[in-house]
Symmetry: C2
Subunit: 402 residues, 2 copies
């Protein structure tokens, strides 16, 4: 591994802590959490492009405007979306309650919710939860926050790494949740990243967008862009590294690479644990005319229900991949188009290539599958990540509310 993995996930970086409780929004699991920095942190965020933004998304967008945050409050089990003006008041109240508990300003609090759409938030439970989280903020196991944000996820997504910037130890930690309604558009499901790096507001904002485009924005579970997607980063500067001020700063590339690695790690974890998924699918597109086209093709393949069901059935039905390339909108040269599953070339030189069905079957029965497509027109590439479409996806979603 390129980076030194450390404990503590979202609270690994200096000055960060987190806590979580169960108050009954979900039946029996942790459902309210707070992430806190003991000093105000430079912050940036990207939120869903869905026009129907949930109330917490609207509140968080507003609170992110000055580029500073000191806490994030989040609940699972209820999305507080399509809940009208009452929902907006509830989201604002979540920020106010958190601010009161932590003795900070409400404008310094980001609010996030995830769960069912269109059901009023149970504010009695939320109030109790925020109160408890704020009280226990420094004593609580910080990794519980990774559990508290889950919905149909089967395991928590968390990571923390350590890097050196100008000789100073800097930590970056993050948690995320995904599972269903996952097809981020310039944003993500819920993803929270903390770091003690010192970096200027504007640089952090730019970096987050760039990093997000190559991580969360390249995963899809079911091609559904949620109302609640949100990725937030807080950088509190407590590592005391020389502040990263621009692209020309000597530490810029090191920090960017580390941040990209953390975001990609979390994004891939979401794809791996997609609703009902039994397999993780990595799509590598090369030979594209532009980065945009590479992304277009890679994402289209990751979204195809026919490719996803074929992978579920361990069926090397590469024709479905070709079909997706055809309707993806990406340019390609048919005579140079190449389709591979793992190392096996299935289509090349404008003709199907012979392959050993038994070998492919065995390969496709594995837990991780790599699909490679060379479009044969340029030198741009992109990776996307997804999962198979299984009976369990149908099971889970035919009865989500009940």
């Amino acid at each position: 591994m390129k980076y030194k993995k450390i404990e503590g996930s979202i609270a690994a970086a200096k000055g960060f802590s987190a806590s979580a409780v169960h108050v009954g929004i979900k039946k029996s699991k942790l459902d309210v959490a707070i992430i806190y920095s003991e000093v105000p942190a430079v912050a940036a965020g990207v939120v869903t492009k869905n026009k129907l933004k949930a109330a917490p998304v609207l509140v968080t967008k507003k609170h992110l405007k000055d580029g500073m945050l000191q806490a994030i409050v989040v609940n699972s089990g209820n999305a507080n979306a399509c809940t009208g003006s009452a929902g907006l008041t509830h989201a604002k109240d979540m920020a106010i309650l958190t601010a009161q508990g932590l003795h900070i300003s409400p404008q310094q609090v980001a609010v996030a919710s995830t769960g069912v759409i269109g059901v009023p938030l149970p504010m009695d439970k939320i109030t109790k939860g925020i109160d408890l989280c704020a009280k226990n903020i420094s004593t609580h196991d910080p990794e519980d926050a990774a559990l508290a944000i889950l919905t149909t996820d089967t395991y928590p997504k968390k990571i923390a790494i350590e890097i050196k910037l100008s000789g100073k130890t800097v930590k970056i930690g993050g948690i995320a949740k995904g599972s269903g309604m996952i097809h981020p558009d310039m944003a993500t499901m819920l993803g929270f990243i903390t770091t003690d790096a010192a970096i200027e507001k504007e640089e952090l904002k730019k970096l987050l967008r760039q990093v997000n485009d190559n991580s969360f924005n390249m995963i899809s579970v079911d091609a559904e862009t949620s109302t609640n997607d949100m990725l937030i980063i807080m950088a509190n500067g407590m590592a005391n590294n020389p502040t990263i001020t621009s692209r020309d700063h000597p530490d810029w590339v090191v920090f960017k690479d580390a941040l990209q690695w953390v975001a990609t790690y979390l994004a891939k974890e979401i794809a791996r644990d997609g609703e009902g998924a039994s397999k993780f699918i990595e799509i590598q597109v090369t030979g594209a005319a532009s980065e945009k086209q590479a992304r277009l093709a890679a994402r289209a393949i990751s979204c195809s229900p026919l490719v996803k069901t074929a992978m579920y059935g361990a069926d090397a039905n590469w024709g479905r991949i070709a079909c997706v390339v055809g309707y993806s909108g990406a340019q390609f040269k048919l005579e140079k188009l190449k389709i591979k599953i793992g190392q096996h070339v299935l289509y090349a030189n404008d003709a199907p290539q012979e392959f050993d069905e038994a070998v492919l079957k065995k390969l496709l029965q594995g837990k991780t599958i790599t699909l490679k497509v060379d479009l044969g027109v340029g030198h741009y590439s992109a990776d996307a990540w997804g999962c198979d479409l299984t009976h369990d996806y149908v099971n889970i979603n035919a009865s989500y509310r009940s």
Copy 2:
């Protein structure tokens, strides 16, 4: 019913006949068919916008250029797509063999294929099939053609109606197939329509595009645009009605309405029999700022795996419909947005509306579900048709090739 339903489907109109045989491309079902007009017919077609067009699509496009056809040859069980230059030769040979059997010109023959992608066409079987079909063209049960074009469809889609144009009896008949990889883009899966109406080439071409946009282009089974989609109409003029020459012709509207009805009937049949479908879903979008936006929203809802699984599970999870509206790209006013399932209002006045879960559950357990969305910004509307996403869709597509 608005129109008089008659027997004969694709061969109902005067001068048309059809035949079909089983030659072993599919295991045990009819797999090669010919549709024939005893005189050359004015013809028009729309084909898939997938950049990876199958060989028969390329041949048919070419043969449609002069706006005249006398026969259509079609096979199921093999799509002849991604089969390189050999595939193109095979598709051309299908036209030549059909022309020889029927004593017409190869340029007068449209070629269509449907089935697995990337497998060479078994030309020995195809040759035998075309030979038999041509020989029996006038004696065969014409409705067999509707069976011969099926893949994973569970029943044949066919219709024929009778109308009066300037006192003359005119017949319109059609067959179609669908099931999987169904998300037509300015074209369709396989749809063939015949009529004995007399109409000018250019008018027929314009009419077909218009009719197709409101029928086949508004259905989706799995958001996959196939490599082989094709809708062809032949009008042989044998009804002897005064030739329809323009929009101003007195019979134009009557003929257009009838053609629209036939195309919509066939398109809805495809949605109803979508791969693994247990329910037919009709989506009615109103209050849109433009027809394009109405179509955008309606189609997005028909494609959503989360809406489709909720319908499968008879779960009135209207929040998922709201979410789709939000990411569909269509404009809406949140305070005027209205979401209904059947006659039950679930969202209005920017707030969730109370509803009786038991009543909705019962409604959603029916075979036909109507979802209504008013975007609250204009007066345009569009209908789309789809089906639920079921365990059987996964079953069928996890093992399509085997």
